[in-house]
């Protein structure tokens, strides 16, 4: 994997800019830490970010902490609490949270303390900072979650672990919390050359249509996401049923389960129950490596749906836009940055709203094409990994130089 491969997509100036930043950070030792090697947006981001940082001259590494089922239940509860869901965490839960981090630090301590920059992703490994007492580099807490309205008790419990960091990164300004260090805003991105986003030929799309028994003559709605209550898959089925009363349509709800998400099965059961008896609803639990299938389903879609009620950023929206599809998105989180009414799709708040917009688009096909084109260019400019990488490198440069001045000459 190297940065040059992206030049035909983003252009020479963008690649040149990254190379120049890389030259200035040559040899900088950077370690990213998260809690899952596959499944979910964070692992997907790190899978390209680390090799590309290395290609640009940095010395970047990715470490994954190990955890027990109990630990992941606790961190899922923390995750839900940060997203505003009411959860009760007892002292024992916080003890489990810290104990697992203590067990992990034994293997990681030396390299984390030696690193120039450590980026801790999400709450799971956050206690590592205070366990690395002889750290010499700068530590960043990267929160990928929509923490705009966190449960007060959960934030109160987590805050002591994250406030000691040198900086934090949030995907949007709405997610940032009051912390005693600079809070930077960096939106995530997608990799246009990954299996999930690379161009596919018609033959491959036909194969996936057959695999999922999709009728090529009927408009297809696709929502790709984990089976998570905040993605509102049951609400999507409600919207689909309203549309189907008026016009033929088929729905695909497909997604994987991340290894740190024990709630997935519960939500999947609720979805299966809601979908029962309708052969035009295709609910598919995909393995973590089914990136190409996801890619094909998004390309098969006439409309991509992401009706989340809470959302970190919504990379599935970015993926849908990149494939030139209009997106019906929930009016939440980072979806608001990407979906602009009448330009790239529509923001909705209810199943009724989603149904109305779907019907509008199905009857105005020329609008679909126009929105798809606008969406793809929006992603090319702002939501591809090259912009994301540039902002990380800029942040690292600013942190190493310890500056928050308005203009810094390098």
């Amino acid at each position: 994997m190297n940065i040059q491969q992206y030049e035909p997509i983003v252009g020479i100036p963008v690649i040149g800019q990254l190379r120049r930043l890389g030259e200035r950070l040559k040899g900088l030792r950077v370690i990213h830490v998260n809690s899952t090697a596959e499944g979910g947006g964070v692992a997907e981001i790190l899978a390209w970010m680390v090799p590309l940082m290395n290609d640009l001259g940095l010395d970047a590494h990715w470490r994954v902490i190990a955890g027990t089922n109990e630990f992941f239940s606790v961190t899922k509860a923390i995750h839900n609490g940060l997203q505003g869901y009411s959860v009760l965490l007892k002292k024992r839960d916080w003890d489990v949270y810290q104990d697992v981090n203590r067990e992990n630090v034994t293997a990681l301590k030396d390299e984390l303390e030696e690193a120039d920059i450590v980026v801790i992703h999400d709450p799971q490994p956050a206690p590592l900072l205070e366990l690395c007492t002889r750290r010499r580099g700068r530590w960043i807490w990267r929160c990928h979650i929509d923490a705009s309205h966190p449960s007060r008790s959960v934030w109160k419990g987590l805050k002591p672990f994250v406030e000691k960091y040198d900086a934090s990164i949030f995907s949007m300004c709405q997610f940032a919390q009051m912390l005693p260090h600079p809070q930077y805003l960096i939106a995530p991105s997608i990799d246009p050359l990954s299996e999930k986003n690379i161009d596919l030929d018609d033959h491959e799309l036909d194969t996936v249509r057959q695999q999922f028994d999709l009728n090529p003559g009927v408009p297809t709605l696709v929502q790709i996401s984990r089976f998570d209550r905040f993605k509102d898959p049951v609400g999507v089925i409600e919207a689909y049923r309203m549309v189907k009363k008026m016009t033929p349509v088929q729905l695909v709800l497909a997604g994987g389960g991340a290894s740190d998400d024990p709630e997935g099965k519960e939500v999947l059961d609720a979805v299966m129950e809601a979908a029962e008896g309708d052969p035009d609803i295709h609910v598919e639990l995909l393995p973590p490596a089914a990136h190409r299938t996801v890619n094909a389903l998004q390309r098969i879609a006439d409309i991509v749906v992401q009706k989340s009620t809470r959302e970190g950023f919504g990379l599935t929206v970015t993926e849908g836009l990149w494939k030139g599809k209009p997106v019906i998105g929930g009016d939440a989180g980072g979806i608001r940055l990407q979906v602009v009414d009448y330009h790239t799709g529509f923001l909705v708040m209810t199943p009724e709203g989603a149904a109305n917009r779907i019907r509008f688009l199905l009857h105005h096909r020329e609008q679909c094409g126009k929105m798809g084109k606008t969406g793809r260019e929006l992603v090319r400019e702002y939501y591809l990994l090259t912009r994301h990488l540039r902002e990380y490198l800029t942040l690292m440069y600013a942190l190493v130089g310890k500056t928050t001045e308005h203009t810094v000459m390098v």
């Binding site: 800019q17 120049r20 709405q174 809070q183 928050t404 810094v408 000459m409």
Partner: protein, 218 residues
């Protein structure tokens, strides 16, 4: 004549530390005390921010007024404020406060945003670095501009207006050094109404305006 040094820049956006504004009165109070960098960010750095390219207005305050306060009168007035016409950020602050105060005196109820749509005050660090590339002759300039990153276009054409000589972009400054040969192009650049261009569009326009330079000897 010294060669034109192509610089590049990258923006790093962060929270300003100010509490978000939930209504027009709070917006006014925060604007009155925010740092000049906050004003500069919301007025001038928007072309480099990851946001939809064609909003109704070019500054974030006007966009918020129209989308979140549903106050089109205020949005139109704020949208008409030209930051590049103000001698300083303090001058810009005065103009903006005057617009908001006038609107506050007209409305019966203070316009407010629903939860989740507050105005967040941000600022940015601009990291400027030398690209290492040089333009040595006028005829090379159009091609060089065509290859520039958005960061370079922003730095040399928009950010430059803030640096001495204030109100002049770097290209005009350099071309002006060629005397009579450069004079028509300085004038052509001055006429570009750049405020509503995206950086991509601006690059295209610069290349178009400077295209005849390709045939020049100097």
């Amino acid at each position: 004549m010294n060669p034109f040094e192509i610089m590049d820049c990258s923006l790093l956006i962060r929270m300003s530390g100010l509490a978000p504004a939930y209504n027009l009165r709070e917006l006014r109070d925060r604007i009155a005390v925010c740092s000049p960098d906050v004003l500069y960010h919301h007025f001038c750095e928007t072309p480099l921010s990851p946001t939809f390219e064609y909003p109704d207005h070019r500054n974030d305050f006007a966009v918020w007024a129209t989308r979140r306060l549903s106050d089109k009168i205020l949005a139109e007035r704020l949208g008409a404020v030209d930051p590049y016409a103000c001698p300083s950020m303090e001058g810009l602050r005065e103009v903006v406060l005057e617009v908001i105060d006038e609107r506050l005196s007209e409305v019966i109820m203070i316009p407010w945003a629903r939860p989740g749509h507050e105005f967040y005050f941000m600022e940015a660090t601009t990291l400027v670095f030398d690209s290492g590339e040089r333009v040595r002759a006028l005829r090379e300039l159009p091609d060089a501009i065509g290859r520039m990153s958005n960061g370079s276009i922003y730095f040399h054409f928009l950010e430059a207006q803030r640096r001495p000589p204030v109100g002049m972009d770097d290209f005009s400054n350099w071309i002006g050094g060629f005397g009579k040969t450069g004079a028509p192009y300085v004038e052509a650049l001055r006429r570009i109404d750049f405020y509503f261009y995206t950086l991509r569009e601006l690059r295209k326009e610069l290349v178009r305006v400077l295209e005849p330079l390709r045939g020049k000897r100097s």
